[in-house]
């Protein structure tokens, strides 16, 4: 049974009522029973009971989960489907040794010349650097992101290590995260602008190790822990750590403790660190008074997309909305299913491209139906995914980070 023994009790709690069907985007799009928490949980249990093998179909079942956490919200019995899938990924990693996905990925890509050539051309660019940090699975991560901007120089090299302000009221460290550092650099600048305009001194440490989430969610706990320790070594010394990537924020604030739960010696350090980590909008709302400084002449209709890591993992939903609403002349509209996954979901967008695109298409449609001119969110992965979804539909709606909107309303 291996590591599945640890969650066996939870696997057993699933009453097979099927309430997760409505909550699961992969099921909604695919329709097969094993593409929903009930099916996944039953199959994981079947594997634990040695009734089935961990064949490639099984791997697909476990790896196609978005980990969006919506099934857990819907489950009347309190089964947390995404956590069980995580355990199953861990189990797979241990069963199959290293990098099971890279293998299947390479095989899949070889059959699709279009993808492959794109992958290479992308890989040749600066994207390489992002991807290198992700163990084993790298080079397809961005495949879907046709127009993914790639910075020649990472953000962290574009700014001084310490960005000083005249009268610093607070000091923070900025954990940039791979995507903002290498791709959506403008949003990283927006973050700094919002903070500095509010008299916050921002340190951008030269070393920006990956938070470990990508490794963690694919069951490579060893690499994830190594990353976690690197992050804490670099950032542990600051009073407050800000990140503007929902996924990184979730890792730093929450999941790191779960990752290190079996390391009694190190765990307190992790917890202490997590306490000091803030998601951007959370920090701005809690610690700063930026709203009084906002100016804006162009009336704009704005909506907000909740990244999974914000709404379900960290329950941060009101802060970004309130910030958006506080911009003068902005009209805030709520879109249908604002809190449902956009389809990016880490590597799902790469490995299960068709599935992921269908989910993104829903998101794009909901955005368009809302009448918004700008869709704001708090996660660069969502931003890239949503952009491509909107582009495919020929929409002109702009995708921005909450920080971008605030920054452009703060006059120089």
């Amino acid at each position: 049974m291996g590591v599945l023994a640890e969650v066996y009790e939870k696997l057993n709690t699933c009453g097979k009522c099927g309430f997760c069907h409505g909550a699961c985007k992969t099921y909604k799009k695919d329709g097969a029973e094993y593409m929903v928490a009930r099916g996944r949980v039953q199959l994981i249990k079947a594997l634990a009971d040695n009734k089935i093998d961990a064949d490639s179909d099984y791997e697909d079942v476990v790896n196609s989960c978005l980990l969006c956490g919506e099934c857990a919200v819907a489950c009347p019995s309190g089964v947390k489907g995404h956590e069980l899938v995580l355990a199953a990924r861990r189990d797979l990693k241990l069963r199959k040794g290293t990098k099971p996905f890279a293998k299947s990925l390479v095989l899949k890509s070889l059959t699709k010349p279009g993808r492959l050539s794109f992958g290479f051309s992308f890989f040749a660019g600066p994207g390489k650097k992002i991807l290198k940090m992700i163990d084993g699975v790298q080079f397809v991560r961005g495949i879907d992101v046709l127009s993914m901007p790639a910075a020649k120089t990472p953000f962290s090299k574009q700014v001084p290590e310490v960005i000083t302000v005249a009268n610093p009221k607070k000091k923070v460290a900025f954990y940039v995260g791979c995507f903002l550092n290498h791709s959506l650099v403008d949003s990283a600048h927006s973050v700094v602008k919002v903070l500095t305009k509010n008299d916050v001194e921002v340190t951008v440490p030269r070393e920006q190790p990956c938070c470990g989430l990508p490794q963690y969610v694919y069951g490579d706990f060893e690499s994830a822990k190594a990353q976690g320790k690197k992050v804490i070594n670099e950032f542990g010394k600051y009073d407050a750590v800000i990140t503007a990537c929902a996924s990184c924020a979730s890792m730093l604030k929450k999941e790191m403790s779960e990752l290190f739960h079996d390391d009694e010696d190190y765990l307190p350090k992790v917890k202490e660190f997590s306490e000091k980590c803030f998601e951007f909008s959370e920090y701005v709302s809690k610690e700063l008074d930026t709203t009084s400084k906002l100016k804006n002449d162009t009336p704009t209709i704005v909506t907000y997309h909740d990244p999974c890591h914000m709404v379900r993992y960290n329950k941060i939903t009101e802060e970004p909305r309130n910030l958006l609403k506080s911009v003068p002349r902005n009209k805030y509209v709520e879109m249908f299913e604002a809190n449902r996954c956009c389809g990016a979901a880490g590597l799902v967008q790469a490995f299960y491209h068709d599935l992921s695109s269908m989910i993104t298409a829903d998101k794009a449609q909901n955005i368009m139906d809302s009448g918004a001119e700008v869709i704001a969110t708090s996660c660069p992965a969502c931003m890239l995914k949503i952009s491509s979804g909107l582009k495919l539909k020929g929409s002109k709606v702009e995708v921005k980070h909450v920080a971008d909107i605030l920054a452009s309303s703060l006059r120089d």
């Binding site: 009790e9 057993n12 709690t13 009453g15 097979k16 009522c17 099927g18 309430f19 997760c20 069907h21 409505g22 909550a23 329709g31 097969a32 029973e33 094993y34 099916g39 039953q42 199959l43 079947a46 009734k51 089935i52 093998d53 064949d55 179909d57 099984y58 079942v61 819907a74 489950c75 009347p76 019995s77 309190g78």
Partner: protein, 459 residues
């Protein structure tokens, strides 16, 4: 195992990705909401009526039985695959083909999820009244298969009452339309009605014309707390006697009140014997008087407390406990068996007393939620599926509950259907003549027993 040539043919009918024969596929379609398991040889996902026709014809030639399936949330074993059968999953045939608000009709494919219809209709201020608790998951095809009911059906009726017409593929592979787009299109036998609730044993539904209607202008939600379930059922009877048909009359007993408190702290008193959630809807001007009457009735029935929600948040709060009721019992035992026995309203207190006796006689823990207005009880029997003794007592207790329902002039199934689980009890409810009549029906449609064989009745 299907031969390669059969698989190839199936794929030529409905497409490569719509035929599944993988090991995990076999496992994942082997179960449903029950604890039983079946063993089939393949899964197909038709996406059009023509594909269904071709599949039915091909399987008939090959002598392969077909088990239709929606979301597989039924709790009677209705979608458990029979040996050597093919599961026909309608989950990918899910278009909302037409919404005609002015004429109160929508045409839908069977795989569309009840909730998705509701969400689309709500945009226009309309709804489709049948609302099984499983509505976020269950498909229209499945709702039709079981003629599902829901909390609202006391006032509005169950699935069968909202179906104008159906497109059906028969075991002959022929397609027929029964009924139409309104209530008066049935020539002679009302085939629509015999198909609704037939659990996929006589025809596969490929389209349905459903009745939709405007959402009532206003609604009031009330919560009444009682010392005993008897008091609560007295209140139910008196509300109806006062000439009021609420949309909803949901009851929860003491055990469920406590498990839901453990689960989400809804704020209900743990010492209450029962609570009732009461909802009335209609013209705003009419509701005040109805709420007042219901308040008086509750008082007369010794209610400890009676609350009327004054905001959406309060409505949510009242519903909170009911929503988590089923799952909340997982804290007591990992598994629960749902029953759906139904008795005449006047026998409701007797049914409650009989459930108490079953608890003692079989040494089982039971929590009861009920659609009290229509006498439909859901005694949840708690157990651990890994403990064989508990599973045995569960089965024995469930059989006893069904016997009680029949003795109290009720039925063994108010909304979940017979499937495999309750098949053995059917003769007790219907007697030899009644069973023979069922066989007549099955034989006239499916003499080869090819559609969902072994469900509902054996030929």
């Amino acid at each position: 195992m299907l031969s390669q040539s059969v698989i190839t043919k199936l794929k030529s009918i409905c497409g490569e990705k719509d035929v599944i024969t993988s090991k995990i596929g076999m496992y994942a379609y082997g179960y449903d909401g029950t604890m039983l398991e079946g063993s089939h040889v393949g899964i197909v996902f038709p996406e059009s009526t023509q594909e269904v026709v071709d599949l039915v014809n091909f399987c008939r030639e090959q002598g392969i039985a077909i088990v239709p399936r929606g979301a597989g949330t039924n709790v009677s074993g209705g979608t458990l695959p029979s040996d050597g059968s093919i599961v026909m999953n309608f989950a990918r045939m899910k278009k909302l083909l037409e919404i005609d608000l002015e004429n109160y009709v929508a045409i839908v494919e069977p795989g569309v999820v009840n909730w998705d219809i509701q969400e689309t209709l709500a945009k226009y201020g309309y709804y489709y009244p049948p609302d099984p608790a499983s509505w976020k998951a269950s498909t229209l095809g499945g709702n039709l298969g079981e003629s599902s009911g829901g909390p609202k059906c006391f006032k509005y009726g169950v699935t069968r009452d909202f179906i104008y017409g159906l497109e059906v593929v028969l075991p002959t592979g022929k397609v027929i339309w029964v009924g139409g787009r309104d209530f008066s299109s049935e020539p002679m036998y009302d085939l629509t009605r015999i198909l609704v609730g037939s659990e996929g044993t006589i025809g596969f539904i490929t389209k349905a014309a459903i009745r939709i209607q405007p959402i009532p202008e206003a609604k009031r939600t009330m919560l009444a707390i009682f010392n005993t379930p008897e008091d609560a059922s007295q209140a139910v009877a008196d509300i109806v006697s006062a000439g009021i048909i609420p949309t909803t009359l949901e009851m929860m007993d003491n055990l469920i009140i406590n498990t839901t408190e453990d689960h989400c702290g809804a704020g209900n008193p743990r010492d209450a014997g029962a609570l009732l959630i009461i909802e009335v809807d209609g013209h705003p001007g009419d509701l005040e008087a109805q709420v007042e009457t219901i308040g008086e009735v509750a008082k007369k029935a010794n209610s400890k407390d009676f609350k009327v929600a004054t905001s959406a948040a309060e409505v949510d709060k009242i519903w909170l406990a009911r929503r988590v009721a089923f799952g909340s019992v997982a804290r007591v035992k990992p598994n629960y068996g749902v029953n759906d026995i139904t008795v005449p309203r006047s026998n409701f207190p007797k049914a409650i007393a009989a459930i108490e006796k079953v608890k003692k006689d079989f040494g089982v823990t039971i929590g009861t939620v009920a659609h009290a207005g229509d006498g439909n009880l859901h005694p949840l029997i708690l157990f651990d599926q890994r403990n064989k003794d508990e599973v045995d007592s569960l089965h024995a207790a469930e059989m006893e509950l069904c016997r009680i329902a029949i003795d109290l002039e009720g039925t063994i199934s108010g909304e979940h259907g017979i499937g495999i689980l309750k098949k053995a009890l059917l003769p007790k409810e219907f007697g030899p003549v009644g069973m023979d009549v069922f066989k007549k029906v099955k034989r006239s449609f499916d003499p080869q027993n090819q559609f969902n064989p072994g469900k509902l009745i054996d030929l």
